[in-house]
Amino acid sequence: MEPVTLTLMIGVGLAGAIAFIAGIIEDAESDAGSASNPNSQVQLAPQIGHIIRYYDKAIAGEPPQNGLWAAAACTIALVVSWRFLDLGIGQYYAVFFAAVVGAAIVCLVQGCFGVFAHLSRIASFNPFKQPLYWDALLTPLPYSMGLAFLTALLLTLLAFITGGLLGNPFAPPLLALIFGVSLGSIASGTGDIQYGAERLYQHHIFGSGIQISKMGDIDLKGEYGFRNSVDTPYFCMRLGGTITAFAFGLIIFLDGWTRLFTFAGAWTSVILEAIVVIVLFIFLVWLEKFTRNSYGPYPGQEDL
């Protein structure tokens, strides 16, 4: 096997694996801070009269905040790695340790943003008599910061691998921003559906929606005691995290494979990506038909 192909294959494998782990951790991070879908329930609960003990991180939607963590960590890592290279440290060591430095700084920034958002939101819940519980903030905070550290570190490494081993022409910070925003969107759209609602509202008919008076019920009782922000990732790691990881890892992995072939010049990856999209489309249509045939139509959509 040619060395170039071998490097590319190692790059594809590494990128896919890192993307997969980053997916699991990013979804857990957003759930620990009630950043995305659980957020609406956390926000609604005090209005319905349920006092919560959740860490309400709420950093402006998952995609932008995740984009900031990744882009900031990667930019710091890049400038630090240049300094390391000046000191005579080897290229790979420089990149890895610089990525750790970048992620560490970013995790502190994430903690600051999280504390700001939590305290401000609790203060804005004043008309609903929601008190500020310090322990409800301080328990999940280091957990959430740790997960943010890992997400930023992995996305930084992913950006460096894509830029270095896979030869992507864009600069690593830009790649990190794009990866961060896409991972945030995937975790928000794919992963956060499985945050426990399907278990707590299982006595409602599937697809019937949740009444306003039932909003926020999900935030009250945990597996043991009062439900808090550490319980949500406990549940979400099993389904939401792995589904996010699967979606993001597959995108990076399949995209990487297209770089291994060169049969049609610059158009190779366009043709291969089109084939991948068509195959996925056919499979998903078949899956949807199979599900509807097996379990019947959604309530209220019998005529569709």
Binding site: Q43, Q47, I51, R53, A58, I59, A60, G61, P63, P64, Q65, G67, L68, A71, A72, C74, T75, I76, L78, V79, V80, W82, R83, I105, V109, C112, F113, F116, A117, L119, S120, R121, I122, A123, S124, F125, N126, P127, F128, K129, Q130, P131, L132, Y133, W134, D135, A136, A171, P172, P173, L174, A176, L177, L220, G225, F226
Partner: protein, 266 residues
Amino acid sequence: MTDEIPAEEVEKKEIPNIKLYIVAMITGIIGYYILLANPNLAFISIILAWPAIVAGAGGVEHLCRYGLGTGTSSIGYWGTAVGATVVFATIFISSQVFNLYSPFIVIIVGTIIGYIVGLCAERIINMKIPQQAQQSFIITGSAAIFILIVLEVLSSGGVATTELYYTFPVIYIGTALVILHPYNGSLGAGEKQSRTLLLALCEASLITTLFGIIGVLLPNAPFIPALGVLIISLIGLVVFVRWWWKLTKRDTYDVVWSGYPAGVEH
């Protein structure tokens, strides 16, 4: 909820965003020229750049109070994208990266684009948000002047190096987040303008701390200006957080170390 302040009284106390915007533009332009005269005075310029974030956050607050919901992040994203693109584009157009006219160009172009898009949303899409065009240009113009000053600090007095281009993504997304987050973070029935705008100051100093760290490490960038930005941002962060926490504590219903809601089984 009888002890709530009546809505009219709240309205009366609030500062109109257009005033914040005018102040931010004046301080921004002064900050720019200070930096142009002497790059080592970057720490003064960065203080003068923070009001731009306050004005932008005020614009987001005004627009999103009318129930935009998840649109909070979209509007901040969009407004900063306009401001950032205008600033980044001026770098590529002019042979001399930053000149005497730069702040006026970015403010005027940013404001016009923001106004046109806001007007389209108001007239064509009929979103029924009062002063939508005005608040839109407040966001875009504020983002433009803030990014201009940050970029000038990082560019070692106006020299566009290849290394500088690597910082564009983080400058864009960082500014977007600090403009849209103050309102998003303070969302709720008891949200107040004073607290939201103070949070904008806290976050502005936090993000300039991050830019300061990047500037200190950036090759070819002047070390002293970036260090000045880093130190003054950290001091600003401490001062603003203490101020903001006073207001937050006053507004919070109750502050306890631990406990459970009364009358709920656990």
